[in-house]
């Protein structure tokens, strides 16, 4: 791997260095835009005591949910944990620590972590359980709470296309948390559907510059759909 070529060829290489007790930030919203195979590699490795930061925790048998089966997750920071029975069970039993975080605050905490902003004020969560133990402050007549940045030892990202330098392009709403998560990992690992040569992506149209990306791997994806809603063609 010379210069800016970020491509690795095995999932083992992609997740090398992940250790028990680390914090992993994951892109994705529900099952959309998740790094399916990187998650499976974490399952295969059997790394334990992980803190996962992700908007959701997948479903029982897909996405981050598979890491719950073997109790690999100690704590999860998420905004929404519905649609996952094992998750709810472990949480209710106190086997899993959960830090419920409003979705926008979670996105902003990841962005802040990547952007060297250690903390910011937001009105979101003021006067709610989310504000417990947090600093409150009135600014221009409105009440806000102080939220801190999140950084991860690893970030696991799913993009659509990338060039070898790690410049990323996302597709439709599979973008979601991925760009912020990509900035907030000490080691950011990305899996993509297509890898092209540097220069093939329009510089104006790159969503995530390669500077945030450490490792890049070509994957194939199941892309399971959580809520298959359709209309009939004539309606």
């Amino acid at each position: 791997m010379a210069g800016f070529d970020k491509v690795v060829s095995t999932y083992e290489e992609a997740m090398a260095g992940l250790e028990d007790g680390m914090t992993v930030i994951s892109g994705g919203f529900g099952l959309c835009g998740i790094a399916e195979n990187l998650i499976n590699e974490i399952k295969r490795k059997g790394t334990k005591e992980l803190t996962m930061v992700s908007n959701n925790c997948g479903v029982d048998d897909f996405g981050l949910g598979v890491l719950l089966q073997d109790r690999q997750i100690k704590k999860i920071v998420a905004s929404y944990v519905g649609e996952n029975a094992e998750f709810e069970r472990q949480m209710m039993n106190g086997e899993l620590e959960v830090e419920l975080t409003p979705q926008g605050t979670l996105a902003e905490k990841m962005r802040a972590g990547g952007a060297g902003i250690p903390a910011f004020f937001t009105a979101t969560g003021y006067g709610t359980p989310v504000a417990d133990g947090k600093e409150e402050r009135e600014i221009d007549g409105r009440m806000y709470i102080l939220e801190h940045a999140i950084k991860g030892d690893f970030a696991i990202i799913k993009a659509w296309k990338a060039d070898r330098y790690g410049n990323l392009v996302f597709r439709k709403t599979a973008r979601n948390f991925n760009p912020m998560a990509a900035t907030a990992g000490k080691i950011t690992v990305v899996e993509v559907e297509e890898i092209v040569e540097p220069g093939e992506l329009d510089p104006d149209q790159i969503h995530t510059p390669g500077i945030y990306v450490n490792r890049l791997i070509l994957g194939t994806f199941e892309k399971r759909i959580e809520q298959r809603t359709v209309r009939t063609a004539q309606s």
Binding site: V81, G104, A107, T124, Y126
Partner: protein
């Protein structure tokens, strides 16, 4: 008669204005999209990163990479844009969305809302709801007026953990359209065939009744 879910959506749709950017929560709010008046244009924001949400896809159009905040497969409307979650909530938190419609378990006379958690029972998480209620100036809460057992959801003080404090000004229930100001509920409209007395009986928080309470037009 109490409003049906479809009628609730219909009544909310009357609050839409031409050129509105609107975020519709999961459940009844989602149905509002079916009643957008023909003569106006609104654009739907989905907080997972889509402005200009279209209708559900046909079988042929289904795309796993294109879902809404309820994780349903959707399409894009003409002129749509896609962005990341930080940008999406910048829009929401920054007050750029013109109208937010969402459900709730409880609302109280101080504009507090509880909608995300029933301790020991239902813990799904707040998703984007806390950001939505904190960011929007113009929010309509849609909910049933009372539980099946007749317990009011319009309270003096919310009993469940709050989603937001002092942020709700308009509530549409299956029985009434109510505004919240100066620490009181104000009855504005009643559902067709529902009496003011019924509404009073099922409203625990202080309710101001004007001389004339018109029936909703649907």
């Amino acid at each position: 008669m109490a409003l049906t879910r479809e009628q609730l959506a219909q009544r909310v749709a009357q609050e839409l204005q031409d050129g509105y950017y609107v975020n519709l929560g999961i459940g009844i709010p989602t149905l509002v999209a079916n009643y957008i008046p023909k003569e106006i244009e609104v654009m739907l924001q989905s907080e997972n990163g889509l402005l200009g949400m279209g209708q559900f896809p046909t079988e042929d159009e289904i795309d796993a990479d294109l879902i809404n905040a309820g994780k349903q497969t959707v399409t894009m409307a003409t002129g749509a844009s896609v962005f990341d979650s930080a940008e999406s909530f910048a829009m929401i938190r920054g007050g750029h969305v013109d109208l937010t419609v969402l459900g709730a378990f409880e609302v109280d006379v101080n504009g507090n809302i509880a909608s995300y958690m029933i301790p020991g029972k239902l813990i799904k998480g707040m998703g984007g709801a806390m950001d939505l209620v904190a960011g929007a100036d113009n929010i309509i809460v849609t909910m049933t007026h009372a539980s099946k057992h007749g317990v009011s959801k319009l309270l003096s003080n919310c009993t469940l953990p709050l989603t937001g404090k002092g942020c709700i000004k308009k509530v549409l229930t299956d029985l009434a359209y109510i505004e919240i100001k100066e620490g009181k509920f104000h009855l504005v409209e009643r559902a067709p065939g529902v009496s003011v007395d019924e509404i009073i009986k099922l409203t625990e928080g202080e309710l101001v009744i004007p001389n004339n309470v018109p029936e909703m037009k649907l």
